[in-house]
């Protein structure tokens, strides 16, 4: 039993982290990912896409008021929400795939928390200097220099945070119009409050909470543990090669690790990777860059800290050949995830191409189930939602096919056609009548099929439904 002499403290203050600048392969990769992800985030709402006069010309727009999602040439209506569900499933499977193959690669490279924290680190380094300068500044008394640097840094962070919160709302309204409205104070309250909240979270999470978000707030590190196995690639230290660590020229009894602490100094979460795998590690691989740099300087082989699988440890400790990294990545599990991921992707693309520009849903009015007319005929009522998803006005013709004799009529018109303007949904009440004495009128249930034909494009679609007769059970 570990009997402690002193009572353990229940709470501890955060230890500030001052990551040192580093350069190398993975740092470059992280810069590229940052530029691409931030670029997509900030620029996308400003891309224009001509859809004609009646529709917004914003390439990517979530139009809440009109319940439409625009994505370049694709337009999603609410009844096509399964596309979004499909994309979410793909995102889930994608995370499974990447986690089982490459561990917390999402956390290390593309998680918004990581990307924005990285950006805030870059700004901090640019204003206050590298690790040692920042450490000194942190310990220094508050003088004019410290106040000036801090204010500059916070202002720079605040600008990024406002831009981040601001970019978000542009996805939900016409960006140029909204920007003018925002500046002139004409924008809706929800726009300002959303920007305010996102600005605050960006500022606090990127500037102050940082690794605390990953360690204490994010559920993903816990979930990921269940998806990793002994072949998953993570960042690890080859202790069989590095230990016993030590400084100095006399290295006969020492391993390759010169205990320079370069890996610790660059770590954005403030851990020592040489202690083994830890919950805090987001596998950003900056320690690999830092160590490779040192190994090159002391003339040793790179990779004392490297992307390794758990099985590599046993294998290499036994002195066997290194296993090629692709052998870890290609295994039944990751291939299965890839197959499922691709299958859903292909299915979504196929669905996208075969979907019709017209659509109908039929809601039978069952209160009451049927109406007896004065001549003894039986009438059923149906609410048809006719969707014209094309960009031109059209006329829908409504008819039905059935084994029984049924007549169809529309509320408000003698005709069997109804005009539906471009990009709109029209609710049409439709009556279906069975003459007295027919099987449909005197029987129980009769199945039939509503046909809706677009008279402009000749596209047709149908919905099956049921007619209820007077003898309904």
């Amino acid at each position: 039993m570990s009997a402690t002499e002193e009572p353990t403290k229940l709470y501890a203050a955060r230890e500030p982290v001052f990551p040192k600048r580093v350069s190398g392969t993975f740092r470059n990769l992280k810069w590229i990912v940052m530029i691409i992800t931030l670029g997509i985030y900030y620029v996308t709402p400003w891309i224009r896409w001509d859809r004609g006069p009646a529709l917004p010309d914003q390439a990517v727009l979530i139009d809440m008021a009109n319940r439409r999602f625009f994505f370049f040439w694709i337009e999603i209506w609410p009844h096509e929400f399964y596309f979004v569900a499909g994309l979410l499933i793909m995102a889930g499977l994608g995370l499974f795939l990447f986690t089982s193959a490459l561990g917390r690669v999402w956390c290390g490279y593309s998680c918004p928390q990581t990307v924005w924290t990285d950006l805030f680190f870059a700004v901090e380094r640019w204003i206050e200097g590298d690790r040692n300068a920042r450490l000194r500044l942190w310990k220094a008394d508050w003088d004019t220099k410290k106040i000036r640097l801090r204010i500059t840094k916070y202002l720079a962070w605040l600008l990024i945070a406002i831009a981040t919160g601001g970019a978000w709302v542009f996805y939900f309204a016409d960006a140029p119009t909204l920007l003018v409205d925002l500046v002139t104070g004409q924008a809706p309250f929800i726009a300002y409050s959303t920007i305010g909240i996102l600005t605050a979270t960006t500022f606090v999470f990127g500037g102050f909470m940082r690794e605390q978000v990953c360690i204490y707030m994010c559920p993903w590190p816990r979930i990921q543990a269940a998806m990793m196995d002994e072949h998953t690639i993570t960042v690890a230290y080859r202790d069989w090669r590095g230990e016993p660590r030590g400084k100095g020229k006399a290295r006969e009894d020492l391993g390759d690790c010169i205990d320079c602490n370069a890996c610790v100094n660059v770590c954005p979460v403030g851990i020592d990777i040489r202690d083994g795998q830890q919950l805090e590690c987001i596998t950003c691989a900056l320690c690999i860059d830092a160590c490779d740099d040192i190994m090159a300087k002391v003339g040793k082989e790179r990779g004392l800290i490297d992307y390794l699988a758990l099985t590599d440890e046993e294998n290499e400790r036994a002195g066997n050949e290194k296993v090629n990294i692709w052998k870890h990545i290609f295994r039944p599990r990751t291939i299965l995830y890839t197959t499922l991921w691709s299958a859903i992707g292909v299915a979504l693309v196929v669905l996208l191409f075969i979907r019709s520009e017209i659509d109908v849903t039929v809601a039978p009015v069952r209160n009451p189930q049927f109406v007896t007319m004065s001549d003894g005929a039986i009438r059923n009522t149906y609410d048809l939602r006719l969707r014209n998803m094309s960009h031109s006005d059209t006329t829908f013709h409504i008819s039905l096919t059935s084994d029984e004799v049924l007549q169809v009529g529309l509320e408000g018109t003698e005709l069997l056609t109804v005009d539906v303007p471009a990009d709109t949904l029209h609710l049409q009440r439709v009556y279906v009548i069975a003459r007295p004495g027919t099987d449909a009128a005197d029987g129980d249930r009769t199945d039939f099929r509503f046909w809706v034909e677009d008279l402009q494009s000749d596209a047709r679609t149908f919905q099956d439904t049921t007619f209820i007769g007077r003898d309904v059970q």
Binding site: S2, P368, T381, Y431
Partner: protein
């Protein structure tokens, strides 16, 4: 099998340099006793402070007959009242229009906005004031007319529907209400005459009947009933006298129901709804007009 390793696993697993542990071990997994972050504690205190402040500012603590009101005077009921007033003000112009435009012109083609407003508002008014008797789907019940079919006692044009809703039927509150009263023939006709006229009505409505009795019933019908229901039994909307030849029956069309109607008569009452026209109703003219348009749109409107 007495192996020390199995009996005291934690002794084996704890290593030099490990952080403090809680002493809990499951399958070799130790629970470290790491301190929680201090900001977490502050967050907890902040939520406590927020909770306290909230209960002071807003209605919160339950008392015997109400809750503490809170010093901001916040009330969801007052907000709803404000919202209603706001929407009433927004709808005022369209209500005014509905009162001015001719009823027959409130159609999807001529006045789509007015029509839409009337249908939406009318369906809410119907659910509130009409559905108790006519049913939520307007299919009626025995004694309460079905408003979906093509048979109307007092007329099914939009103006006739509007008049009926405004003034009601056989009520004592509105002198302009539709009025008619069928005679109860229990004391007037003999049992044979009543039986024969019932068979006659079964005949003209196309139902199974006794041909001999029905033949005799024709004379009884022409002498007693035709003045209101007309010679051919097609009824008279001016008197609210139902068509006896069709398939729709307000009180039932079988022999027993018909006999009861003939003997004791029927006297269905509908209240007046217009506050403007009769002074006895609950609905404004715009509301009466909206619900008229709604009823007219249900599939039977003429």
């Amino acid at each position: 099998m007495s192996d020390d390793k199995n009996q005291h696993p934690e002794e084996q697993i704890l290593m030099e340099g490990d952080p403090d542990t809680t002493g809990h071990v499951w399958d070799g997994i130790k629970e470290f006793n790491n301190p929680l972050p201090r900001w977490w504690l502050w967050t907890f205190y902040a939520t406590c402070a927020w909770g306290l402040l909230y209960t002071i500012l807003y209605p919160a603590w339950p008392l015997l007959d109400r809750a503490t009101p809170g010093i901001l005077g916040y009330s969801t009921r007052a907000i709803v009242a404000e919202d209603i007033a706001e929407f009433d003000a927004m709808n005022a112009p369209i209500r005014e229009q509905i009162e001015q435009v001719e009823l027959a012109a409130i159609t999807p083609a001529d006045n789509p906005d007015l029509y839409n407003y009337a249908i939406q508002g009318g369906s809410a008014i119907f659910a509130t004031w009409c559905s108790q008797c006519h049913g939520s789907g307007a299919a009626g019940a025995v004694g309460y007319p079905n408003l979906l079919d093509d048979d109307w006692l007092w007329g099914g044009s939009i103006d006739e529907i509007h008049y009926t809703i405004s003034h009601g039927i056989r009520n004592e509150d509105d002198p302009s209400a539709h009025y008619s009263e069928m005679t109860a023939f229990d004391e007037i006709l003999s049992d044979e005459e009543i039986a024969s006229v019932v068979q006659y009505v079964l005949n003209i409505s196309g139902q199974e009947h006794d041909a001999t009795l029905a033949g005799a019933g024709e004379t009884v019908y022409l002498d007693n009933c035709a003045s209101c229901h007309l010679d051919d039994g097609s009824g008279d909307r001016f008197l609210g006298a139902p068509n006896l030849t069709d398939a729709i029956w307000l009180y039932g069309g079988d022999e027993a129901a018909l006999e009861e109607t003939v003997r004791y008569s029927r006297f269905g009452v509908m209240p007046p709804w217009s506050a403007d026209a009769s002074g006895a109703g609950r609905l404004s003219e715009a509301e009466v007009r909206s619900v008229s348009v709604y009823v007219h749109s249900l599939g039977g409107g003429e």
